[in-house]
């Protein structure tokens, strides 16, 4: 157990773009921060959440009241740093108690210069965001807390909106780097880093892939020049509608027959590459308790989600790709609200999911998807065509 500086009574305020204000106490770094206010409902995993690059540009509120109890450790980092633009909690922990803990959350937030706020009615804010939708917000503490409410609101309203934002460049590696396969090697996967998480890379390597992580700025030609056995697009922040270049890159490699697996942002980009649209959800899915139906097996998996955008595709029938990639079906959808959670191409070796099979934080129910990817790569290489994994016959007529 390590003692950390107790939370101060220093004032801080959260300001939403609709003018709502929530008074609280300063937490983490002092100053001001702007971003999109979203809520995450996981009761565990604040460290993974904070270090998930998908949260770049967002002010994240945890609905669980006690945050920081287990401190921070090197093992649970999902990337090299904390990415959230701001952090909202109700009751920050005063002490750290866990056998793996190395540092306190307070210290890490301050060191990462993340402005936070504590002591607000987080449930009231959740309910507001649920009905009004995710929106721009700002946290003001220290000297910035002394700005007038009008000045603060102007700053918030002048901030960047998430719709139309391309944030890939901000989170991606700029250099290619690689991880060796663990155990029997089956090939190489090129991972386009749009904000990739440590766990994803680990699970790919554990499936026998030499993992080559490439910067988001890479071109299709450069990817193909690496001669990978498969391509993977990671999760990441931003609006998929603003990533035309990545969509084009994907179309090119798909036409080359390169097997593809995408997670989260990588699902939205596959959707766009196939010709579907994407749209912004009112307040998104951010939690680790979301029920997703795998249409292939009829089973429900409890999954980790972090997405504010979704693919607009019909969940109850097979579609034809308007971009010439053949038949495609929605393989997974969320049972809470029927949002598309996965796409499966029937004529080319490509599939993707909107949620997080790498979890971290979250349940491991969907980890089998990495096996599915490995199997697809292996069978594509031996037969030159994707395995027939159509789910439409199995679940026909049972989707209502």
């Amino acid at each position: 157990m390590t003692e950390t500086p107790t939370t101060t009574n220093e004032a801080a305020v959260l300001v939403l773009e609709d003018g709502r204000r929530y008074d609280g106490r300063a937490y983490g770094a002092r100053g001001r921060t702007l971003g999109e206010a979203v809520f995450a409902t996981g009761m565990t995993g604040y460290q993974e959440t904070l270090t998930d690059p998908s949260y770049a540009g967002q002010i994240v509120m945890m609905t669980a009241p006690h945050i920081g109890n287990t401190g921070m450790n090197d093992e649970d980092m999902e990337s090299a740093r904390i990415w959230v633009a701001g952090f909202i909690v109700r009751d920050p922990s005063r002490v750290v108690s866990n056998f793996r803990s190395q540092r306190s959350l307070d210290d890490d937030l301050a060191a990462a210069d993340v402005v936070g706020i504590s002591g607000i009615d987080t449930r009231a804010l959740t309910r507001h965001l649920r009905s009004a939708g995710a929106m721009r917000a700002g946290i003001f503490s220290g000297d910035d807390a002394l700005l007038t409410p009008g000045e603060q609101l102007d700053l918030v309203q002048g901030g960047a909106a998430m719709s139309g934002a391309n944030l890939s460049g901000a989170v991606s590696t700029t250099e290619t780097y690689s991880l060796p396969a663990v155990g029997e090697r089956i090939g190489t996967v090129a991972v386009l880093d749009l904000g990739v998480k440590t766990s994803t890379l680990k699970y790919l390597a554990e499936r026998g892939f030499d993992v080559q992580v490439v910067p988001q700025s890479i071109t299709a030609e450069e990817v193909l020049a690496l001669e990978p056995d498969a391509l993977f697009f990671s999760n990441g922040p931003g609006d998929p509608a603003a990533s035309d270049r990545h969509v084009e890159l994907l179309r090119t490699t798909l036409r080359e027959g390169l097997p593809y697996f995408g997670i989260c942002f990588g699902n939205q980009l596959l959707g766009r590459a196939l010709g579907f649209g994407t749209y912004k959800l009112p307040f998104g899915h951010r939690g680790i308790n979301q029920p997703v139906l795998d249409k292939a097996t009829g089973r429900v998996e409890i999954t980790a989600h972090n997405h504010g955008f979704a693919v607009d595709a019909p969940i109850d029938r097979v579609s034809e790709s308007s971009e010439g990639f053949g038949r495609v079906e929605v393989s997974h959808y969320d049972l809470n609200d029927n949002v598309v959670e996965g796409l499966n191409c029937l004529d080319i070796p490509a599939f993707s999911v909107q949620y997080h099979p790498e979890s971290a934080a979250g349940p491991h129910d969907a980890n089998y998807l990495f096996d599915r990817f490995r199997d697809m790569v292996v069978s594509t290489r031996s037969t030159g065509s994707p395995t027939e994994t159509s789910t439409s016959t199995a679940t026909e007529g049972s989707n209502e």
């Binding site: 157990m1 809520f39 409902t41 996981g42 009761m43 565990t44 995993g45 460290q47 993974e48 609905t63 669980a64 009241p65 006690h66 109890n69 287990t70 450790n73 093992e75 649970d76 109700r90 009751d91 922990s93 005063r94 002490v95 108690s97 866990n98 056998f99 793996r100 009615d121 987080t122 449930r123 009231a124 959740t126 309910r127 649920r130 939690g287 680790i288 308790n289 979301q290 029920p291 139906l293 009829g298 089973r299 429900v300 409890i302 049972l335 809470n336 609200d337 979890s359 971290a360 934080a361 979250g362 349940p363 491991h364």
Partner: protein, 1095 residues
């Protein structure tokens, strides 16, 4: 897969009487199951001998059998009702064991009945320790090093391998009965000997000690498609070594990272799969080494449990209800989430609040018992609280216990840090307050962790509470900021008042002047992600309230708080019935309660549920919040036992309308002087009596009346502090024992009554509307006066009272009801001694016997009472058909007889030396539950009650008899009959002599104290050796008390029938013939049809 179409009728097995480790939570789960199955169009057949439960109300099943849970009886029900399936997973260990017995006896197969909810194979894998360990290891998880021993010798051998301390756990017992830590070989011999006896399979498991490890539980559910969800994680604040039922627990787990939590989740899912639970739930307990995170799986229960009831209330995910649906074929994703209604049940609830459960103990009822908490559960109830943070939830939970000293305080503390650390190092009831005092005095978190192994995070929260207390105490002014700080850490007005040096009312006044009131948040399963449609609320001092305005006429019903001896599920029964009746009559019902085990705290029961402590402050705030809209008709206080009644005056003073009998009228009954006036006016007699506020006064009164006297404090329930006193030194001894408990004083005088020896005691439950009296039932006690009505068995209708006596009782009840001014329920206790009718006491409230009366005679007393409280008359309720035309004092000659028998928890409590505490019955209630036997006549009904309570009399064997001098005359006939029936008789010298003079052969055995050498065995040794099958022992004066104690303790330890009154023995003997012929079974619905046909 949707609902199975081959299951049209289901036999649900209940959990039997309330005992420690298996309590009201199974009424909650069973009631939910019955409701769900009926909603699904399934015919529900229920067997449960517990009349106090809501599930055994005839409204909840198509055929309700209040019959003993034995394979023979269940087979009779199966033959009669021909169910398609038997559902045993909602009735605790009792039901599961019954299912195994039915299976093993081939009964299920013979009648083509399917076991649903859990397969026999899965039950065995979960419950058989070795099978389970193998399976855990196969799942890749860790287990404690262990061995299964079938004999004491084996156990000793294994102990050499494991080293001390080690854990002993008997197989197939519930609530951890018989488990314990052995620190030495002496401990080992004692615990293993007992454990081998307690285990139906004569097996105990010996395990390496994981004392002090962190303890967690997961509640899981799985369906036929292998969809599995974790409903809730629970963390024990008290580390491994204290039974989870006796631990303070918190949900969700607060000291695990996601990686560690997901590891537990993965193990849990692997185990539920491997065990093969595929249509229901299970709970799995884990221990984690705080030093390195090593995980050990402790155990799993393939059924609904106490923890699952807690998890349901903590999350809003109704485990029992979903389990029942899974059992008839549904998949999780086919079942909607009740609270959001738009999302499916195939998800994992997420909480944006903290839930704390604290146990409630009854050690004051067993002064000789060792209060150390161990792996054997000893608590009799629990309170749960919900707060937006841990500090709030903990403080709310502690004040929900309604027990002196259970809350944190900042008053005087004389003990030093060292003393406090020493006390805190042993887990006991109230340890958390000792920890708080030690921290307050300056002990470090490290010191407390060393002493208690409570996680530093939880200890720091107490430091935080102490710091806030210090801030409150030292601040210049009690201003808004300070009050909000206090309230956000769960401080009550009383605590704030104490810290500021003034009263609770003053603190409240300041708070209200500053406009500081709680808001009410909603338990919604999803942390606000989706709108909640079920108004299940808890308070917080946040900013936004979620109470929806309503323009309806509202009635607030106060529940009965945590279960305790004397106030249990039977009060919940009355509250729930009132809610149903008032809802049906068009009122909006608002329930306030803090007991997670109950049906009243199911969000389905009332229109609105507030999960809040039952203190004046918390109740006033809920009422204030609800008064912001609609019309508050009033508050029902007379159904929630002493808890609710105790709030009546404060509520009235705050201008809140009290429904039914007024608080002043309640006082008339409680205040001795006023009550005497009512009796005098009506020409009724009470035993000679007086009141006193100190010893001198009490001696004066007692000598005036003449010994023996019955003493009891006023305003208590369950006979707390009630004793029969034979002389003045004993009276002095009594005062010495109750000193400091605050139960006798100027405002709460001691009542001193002449004790009526050999009188017949009568209990009456009645309704009064101001004009008409309606008798619910007249119950005759089987034991003579002097044994608390809650512990004595009774019969309804009375079997030895004449019509004229019943009429006298009826008229006396009317006079008392009129005199007090009752509107609603009234319970009166009478005694008839030497032909004279005495009034012992009257209570203008729901009594413990309301559900028993309702089921025995088919009269919905609690529902009728609720209606009377809001203005209906008895005549109207008869016209409506709610009440039968003729009341319970006029029972037809051919009506069935119902017998209520108490169930006592003596086998749970041991002295520090490891000996069972004394089991003599007295005027202080100590039973935890009750059973009912109902049949055509008294002997048959009595036999059923005995069968249900403890398995009944053996049909042959040795009966040991040792009675006090005054009972010697009375035992001759019953013992003679026993001999005629073929039993062998053994007796101590004095008793044997009397028996022989009366022609009864009795083998003479030594008393425990007479044994001087090794050549002859004392009776205690005979009992221990299993050579005695029934014990009859009545306590005599002080001299041979110790001897009797040894005998009774041995009998309880061996779990053989023990009679401590001749009345019970006589009834048991009279019922032996019918028991030998087997029983017929009849449902409550059949009795009702017969009643209607004969009416």
């Amino acid at each position: 897969m949707p609902k199975r179409d081959d299951i049209n009728s289901v036999l649900v097995i209940g959990s039997g009487p309330i005992v420690i480790g298996q309590a009201a939570e199974f009424d909650y789960s069973g009631t939910q199951a019955c409701r769900v199955l009926r909603e699904e169009g399934v015919r529900v057949i229920l067997v449960n001998p517990n009349p106090a439960t809501i599930m055994t109300d005839p409204d909840f099943a198509d055929a309700t059998y209040i019959e003993p849970i034995t394979p023979e009886i269940i087979e009779s029900i199966i033959i009669k009702e021909k169910p398609d399936a038997v559902l045993p997973t909602l009735g605790g260990q009792t039901a599961l064991n019954a299912a195994i017995a039915l299976h093993d006896a081939g009964i299920l197969e013979k009648h083509g009945v399917e076991l649903i909810g859990a397969k026999v194979d899965a039950i065995r894998k979960g419950e058989d320790r070795q099978l389970f360990k193998d399976l855990v290891i196969e799942a890749g998880a860790g287990v404690a090093k262990s061995h299964v021993a079938k004999t004491l010798e084996q156990a000793k051998e294994f102990a050499l391998d494991l080293g001390y301390p080690l854990v002993v756990r008997p197989s197939f017992t519930m609530g951890g009965l018989g488990s314990g830590f052995a620190y030495t070989e002496e401990d080992l011999v004692r615990i293993v000997t007992q454990g081998l006896h307690d285990s139906p399979t004569t097996e105990v498991l010996l395990e390496e000690s994981i004392l002090g490890w962190k303890e967690y539980e997961l509640e899981l559910m799985r369906d036929t498609a292998d969809n599995t969800v974790v409903v809730c994680s629970i963390e024990n604040v008290d580390p491994v070594g204290v039974h989870t039922g006796d631990s303070i627990t918190v949900a969700p787990a607060l000291t695990l990272t996601d990686r560690e939590y997901q590891h537990l989740r993965d193990i849990g899912i692997d185990i539920i799969r491997a065990v093969g639970v595929d249509t229901g739930g299970c709970n799995i307990q884990f221990a984690i080494d705080p030093a390195d995170g090593r995980v050990i799986v402790i155990e799993m229960n393939p059924r609904v449990s106490r923890s699952s009831a807690l998890a349901s209330k903590a999350t809003g995910f109704p485990i029992a209800k979903i389990a029942a649906k899974l059992a008839i074929g549904y998949r999780l994703d086919e079942i909607p989430n009740d609270i959001t209604r738009v999302t499916p049940a195939s998800f994992e609830p997420t909480l944006d609040y903290v839930v704390v459960k604290v146990p409630r103990f009854a050690f004051e009822k067993f002064p000789a018992a060792d209060p150390t908490l161990t792996t054997t559960m000893k608590s009799v109830g629990e309170a749960m609280a919900i707060g937006r943070n841990y500090a709030t939830a903990l403080q709310k939970a502690l004040r929900s216990l309604e027990k002196r000293g259970s809350s944190f305080h900042w008053g005087e503390e004389d003990r030093s840090i060292e003393e406090l650390l020493e006390v805190a190092s042993v887990p006991t009831d109230g340890r958390i307050v000792v920890v708080q005092q030690a921290l307050r005095k300056g002990a470090s978190i490290e010191q407390l962790f060393e002493a208690t192994k409570i996680d530093p995070w939880f200890l720091d929260q107490i430091v935080l509470i102490n710091e806030v207390a210090e801030t409150i105490a030292s601040a210049e002014n009690l201003d808004t900021e300070l009050l909000l700080l206090a309230k956000d850490h769960g401080f009550s007005d009383a605590q704030i008042g104490q810290l500021r040096g003034f009263g609770e009312a003053d603190a409240r006044e300041v708070r209200h002047i500053l406009g500081i009131r709680p808001v009410y948040k909603t338990v919604d399963t999803c942390a606000g992600e989706f709108p909640a449609l079920t108004p299940y609320h808890y308070s917080s001092y946040d900013f936004e309230t979620e109470v929806e305005p309503s323009d309806r006429r509202k009635v607030v019903i106060l529940g009965s708080g945590p279960n305790r001896i004397g106030q249990g599920v039977e009060f919940d029964y009355s509250c729930v019935h009132a809610s149903f009746a008032l809802s049906a009559a068009g009122f909006e019902t608002i329930m306030i309660n803090c007991n997670p085990e109950t049906v009243s705290t199911d969000y389905d029961t009332s229109d609105r549920l507030y999960f809040e402590p039952l203190t004046l402050e918390d109740v006033l705030e809920v009422i204030h919040a609800e008064s912001q809209s609609g019309e508050l008709v009033g508050v029902v206080v007379q159904l929630g036992g002493q808890t609710a009644l105790g709030l009546a005056k404060g509520l009235e003073a705050a201008g809140i309308p009290i429904l039914g009998t007024t608080p002043d009228a309640i006082d008339l009954a409680e205040e001795r002087g006023l009550f005497s006036g009512i009796l005098d006016a009506a020409g009724l007699l009470a035993p000679k009596n007086g009141t006193a506020i100190d010893l001198a006064g009490a001696v004066h009164v007692a000598e005036g009346i003449g010994y023996p006297v019955l003493v009891r404090p006023s305003y208590v329930l369950g006979g707390r502090g009630m004793e029969i006193v034979y002389d003045s030194p004993s009276l002095a001894d009594y005062f010495a024992r109750i000193e400091g408990q605050g139960i006798v004083g100027p405002t709460h005088p001691l009542l001193v009554d002449r004790f009526l020896d050999d009188a017949i005691e009568i209990d009456v439950d009645a309704l009064y509307d101001g004009t008409d009296l309606y008798i619910g039932g007249v119950m005759e006690h089987i034991e003579e006066a002097g044994i608390h009505s809650g512990d004595s068995s009774c019969t309804l209708p009375p079997v030895t009272l004449g019509r004229a006596e019943v009429d006298r009782v009826r008229e006396a009840t009317r006079a008392i009801a009129e005199g007090i001014g009752v509107r609603g329920l009234l319970n009166v206790q009478f005694a008839i001694g030497a032909g004279v009718l005495y009034v012992l006491e009257a209570n203008p409230r729901a009594s413990r016997t309301v559900p028993f009366v309702s089921k025995a005679l088919g009269i919905p007393l609690a529902k009728a009472a609720a209606r009377i409280m809001v203005g209906a008359t008895v005549a109207e309720l008869i016209d409506e058909g709610m009440l039968p035309a003729s009341d319970g004092s006029r029972v037809p000659f051919d009506a069935p007889v119902a017998v209520k028998e108490a169930v006592l928890p003596f086998n749970r409590f041991r002295t520090r030396e490891g000996i069972i505490v004394d089991s003599v019955l007295g005027p202080e209630m100590r039973s935890t539950g009750e059973v009912m036997g109902i049949d055509k006549d008294f002997p048959t009904a009595f036999a059923k009650s005995q069968l249900a309570a403890y398995g009944g009399m053996p049909t042959s064997g040795t009966v040991f008899v040792s009675v006090s001098d005054r009972d010697k005359r009375a035992i001759i006939l019953p013992v003679l009959r026993l001999q005629q029936l073929g039993y062998d008789i053994a007796a101590t010298e004095g008793t044997a002599e009397v028996l022989r003079r009366n022609g009864i052969r009795a083998q003479e055995v030594l008393k425990f104290s007479e044994k001087t050498s090794d050549d002859a065995a004392s009776v205690v040794e005979l009992i221990n050796r299993g050579e005695v099958d029934v014990v009859v022992n009545t306590p005599s004066g002080r001299s041979s008390r110790a001897d009797g104690y040894e005998i009774r303790a041995a009998a309880v330890a061996r779990d053989i029938p023990l009679f401590t009154t001749i009345a019970e023995l006589s009834a048991a003997v009279a019922s032996l013939d019918v028991q030998r012929d087997g029983f017929e079974v009849t449902s409550l619905q059949e009795y009702q049809l017969r009643r209607e046909a004969s009416a």
